[in-house]
Symmetry: C2
Amino acid sequence: MSKAGADEGGAGGCGDSARQLEAKDEKGGTLLSKLPAGPGWTKVSCPCCFSERVEPLVVVKLGGKVGPETKRWLIKMIGAPQKDGGAALLAHPGEDASGDIIVVSAPRCTLLRAAEELGLCKTYRSGDMEAFSYNDRDNFKDSDNMEAFLTLAERQYIVKYELDGLRAQKDLRIPGLPESRMLQKRDNIWQKLSSAGVVVDTFPLHNRKKLKDLGEAWYSGNQLAQPLDSVNDYFGSAVAFYFSFLDFYTWSLLTPAILGLTISYFSGEAQKEMVDSVSGSKVIINDDDSGPMISGHMLQAMFSMIWSTVFMELWKRRSSSLSYRWGTMNLAERFAEPRPNFHGDLGVNPVTGRMEPLFPEWKRDLRMVLVSVPVVGLFLGLVVLGMMCFYWGEAQVKQLHKDWDSLLSQALLYIPSVLHIVYTNMLGNVYRNVAQSLTEYENHREESAFENHLTAKILVFTFFNNFAVLFHIAFFKQDVPLLRKRLASLLIVSQLVNQVTEVVIPFLVDRFISAPHRTESEDDPQEDKFRNQRTLPVFPGLFAEYIELLVQFGYLSLFSCVYPLTAVLLLINNITEIRSDAYKICNLFRKPFSPPVANMGVWQVAFEVLSFVSVISNCWLLLLSPRLQELCREGGLTSTNVLLLAVLGEHVLILIKFIMAALIPDEPDWIRKKREQMEYTSMQALKEQKLQPEVS
Amino acid sequence: MSKAGADEGGAGGCGDSARQLEAKDEKGGTLLSKLPAGPGWTKVSCPCCFSERVEPLVVVKLGGKVGPETKRWLIKMIGAPQKDGGAALLAHPGEDASGDIIVVSAPRCTLLRAAEELGLCKTYRSGDMEAFSYNDRDNFKDSDNMEAFLTLAERQYIVKYELDGLRAQKDLRIPGLPESRMLQKRDNIWQKLSSAGVVVDTFPLHNRKKLKDLGEAWYSGNQLAQPLDSVNDYFGSAVAFYFSFLDFYTWSLLTPAILGLTISYFSGEAQKEMVDSVSGSKVIINDDDSGPMISGHMLQAMFSMIWSTVFMELWKRRSSSLSYRWGTMNLAERFAEPRPNFHGDLGVNPVTGRMEPLFPEWKRDLRMVLVSVPVVGLFLGLVVLGMMCFYWGEAQVKQLHKDWDSLLSQALLYIPSVLHIVYTNMLGNVYRNVAQSLTEYENHREESAFENHLTAKILVFTFFNNFAVLFHIAFFKQDVPLLRKRLASLLIVSQLVNQVTEVVIPFLVDRFISAPHRTESEDDPQEDKFRNQRTLPVFPGLFAEYIELLVQFGYLSLFSCVYPLTAVLLLINNITEIRSDAYKICNLFRKPFSPPVANMGVWQVAFEVLSFVSVISNCWLLLLSPRLQELCREGGLTSTNVLLLAVLGEHVLILIKFIMAALIPDEPDWIRKKREQMEYTSMQALKEQKLQPEVS
């Protein structure tokens, strides 16, 4: 490789680097958001890619002990054309050849080719979104101006995609590294370099100006709507989908909130409840709720069942419009190279005809069924076990306290709770690692499949952890007032805690602890500014954000009939959540890489499953309502008959939900037409193309 | 049109018809299964379509009063090229210009173009099945020999497809018809001719030799396997899918049959039951069933829940392999012309860019939700009402008989049953017409969508009609012994009745009443042989066959746990059913047109829905089992708790079924790869093709 790369762009950029670096040093101060193309940057191999100024997209942080020869080799690899096994990107060695960063950018051709490989859709000359094709680039709008054609997030993701895809074309030794770190043919170079400590970090750069504009439109003013297109532009579709969903969900909460307020107002019950639950004082449970409260209870249950279905179906429609708008409706991940960690016997992919590792589907299925499912089940069992031990311990301690009634026994009362919290946290941490290993072991070919399976595993566990107690109260203890109290306190306390831990603490840490080390002055060299961005913590991903919404949605759809103000509290929470999440992602973290995605992935499924479970839960809660039971007793129905009626009702409601979900189309009519049109054109094209070999 | 068609093939075949017919008359006797190309047939316009002999595919029967000028015009239309508004087929006027039949065949180019339009897949030179493309025809196997390239069923369907698609290119008068029958521009010609009484019938011709071979391989010998490929060849994929499913289902019955026999043997109970139910004598109900019988009961219930899921999933895999094998996996119906009865405002189809009637999706949905669903619901209500009246009437009459006990009151006992049967039949007939009108009103664009919606409507009603009584016994009367008795008698009696009415009676009628009028001698002119085929009754379609299987499957999966021998009886029935259905379709009916289909359509869904309902039914029947209730009483569980356990169990089982259905892939791995490969190639082709306008 080191020889193979010794021509064209890669070598050009490297061989002259010493001279160029000197030249650059003089201009150090002028480096703004765009660096001049000439000095320092590796040369581009094709003339169309040359541009006056190069936009730094990604910074690669090298280990402290990396020698200049390794860095030079790496820069050459990054700059070498793809046919020579390089990444065909542009690399800049930073202030000098021995500095610990490499700034990476991408020339036009590499960006365009990767856009085709990823299956991104862009505006065609007809005005429709069409799958981008490199050969047909001139018919796409803005295809000569990369900054208008691809979003910043896409450009940065493409750099990462190319770096991650670097593979050794033959066995070779990396200069400056010991013999033991030899690269085998087809080894993933970036992975090897990371495990060897050469590459410590790869992160996309913030664009201060764009970020400022985005922040102003997003969270600074009093605007109601979010600038979702700009979010997609800056942070990528994964983040934009989260905020779109948050937006859609928040506005959808308006109806249940109004209903909840109405019910609470007419029952006059809720205020007292709320005060009770917030103050934490003992609630005087009045088991014989007043009449109107119960009819509200039933109304709320029925409503939340219908609402959750309609909400999810409408979101699916919105989601498909967004995916069309953002050009991610036709992603070709399954036709692209497999993810770096994917392993298998080398063979010819029967679909694309390319040489790549192959791993049979049935083996993966077998691993999932025989290993993953039982292990996940085991952990869920451990959660239940923990809960049972907690209840048992609590009962024991209470008994002890009653018998002894000393200060010691008083203190002992807290032991079970503390132990349970410690146990749950430890279990959660262990589980996260186990889930990661399990998903790695399942050996998914596509990054998105990996992500979805990992998320699904953690999601099930987290959800179970969150709801086990509520389900226990609702289904085993069958104690509606306790459920109501617990729900109200969970809603209020957990949201307060969330907001504080998620935003206030990072904000304070950032402002008063980290920031002083990070003060930037205009005179600082650009490299230091790049390096500074690394001092921000890594963006922890959207899992925590989504699970918060899911748990919220669970409270609302599963249990809200016992506490009508749920939707109101959630609405208030989410309106602030939108802004605080926006502030957080803009200011408190390093910019994340974000792959283009077509939807929320596994979260979509999770919300839908929840909406079905809500029918079961609501029917059950209705059954528990003391007023209904009383009514039935008056009506002369035995409890068995009431139960039968409830089961019947549940089945009918699930049927209705299914029919509603089937009747509301998952995509708007115009999207369906566009999609069918694309299918039709590609069918026609296939027929035409078969002809070409004959004609030519 | 009459002027526009006055050139090329169409006119050629028509102008000379008088002379040619004379020439033909001399050769009349020599007309065998293939007619010589020359005399009588309209001429083909392109040289590649010329062949020595022409195979008669379809006969068009004209009304008695159709004049020779109308017939001549019609023949010209059939023969005219498509650009002149003709069907580009071959027509032969029969024995003379005034005879009442037209024999139609199709030249090579028309067949190939239609095969592309229908989206048929054929063997490519690579050996894979690929969507046929006319321009690329030379790379497909056998594309020069139509009889090997397309199946007989496909060729005949294409003739019908072209005839049905005939549309007037401008306003014109049909010669020999009154002014009132003027054709407007874009009117469907075939529909107009049918409603004017010009065309009485259009039916495909049997091929005696092929039919004989098929019969020998199918039902004459003792072979176990059906010649499914030949069935597909001769009768088309719709029929072949039915027989494949029947086959698959019958073999799948082996496991439950063996289980059922084992359970019956060990319980020693079933024989007595069976004797009782068959003899119709009073069953001595022993409420406290013996121990092993109950464990068998539970075993059977659990087994049939799992079995039905596995069966359906495996069938889906088999179905997709068959569809690949028969080249119907990629049908392009939605890109083809809409069905003749489809109406709407003329406009440009946004997908294909062709001019055709358009009808908005939302309007159709609205019609379904606001009209179809309530009407179907009304009829289902009428079924329930009928059943309630029947029960009420029966109770009244019984009371009367008890009070009076005369011969008259004895006779009155039968009145409710008779009335109920008459009512049900009348309702069924009315409903069939209503369903037809409703589906027509819904205005589906594709023939298959129309068929599926119509089938679904009739299916729901028929199913409800069949099972209302059993459900009533199981869920309201909660009388397991009565259910068992009813099930056994239904299974045995209804199957006997079915076999007799379906096969024995048609066979006798055919042999002793119709056949004497239809004796063929070698000397008869070919035309009379064609005409003779019309004396056979029209094939009634597969609805009755499928619904019989569905009802069977319902008995088995819903209720078989109370009568373990169900599967055995069904297995015996189906083994004879395969042969009798085969005999029937080969000999007792006119050959049906059969569109290429990719699967069983709505029947697939019906079987799957049933398999989910079976979980509910089985859980309920388990709950009813007296032994279980006794066990619970001994175990100190209240009936409410038992019910709760049952509901919990049901939910868990449904969850397991869902997971199993999700885990078993719907298509075999190799099919998935082929499909993805096709998608990939067409994606690539699309990119290539966009380039063409620039290059050329």
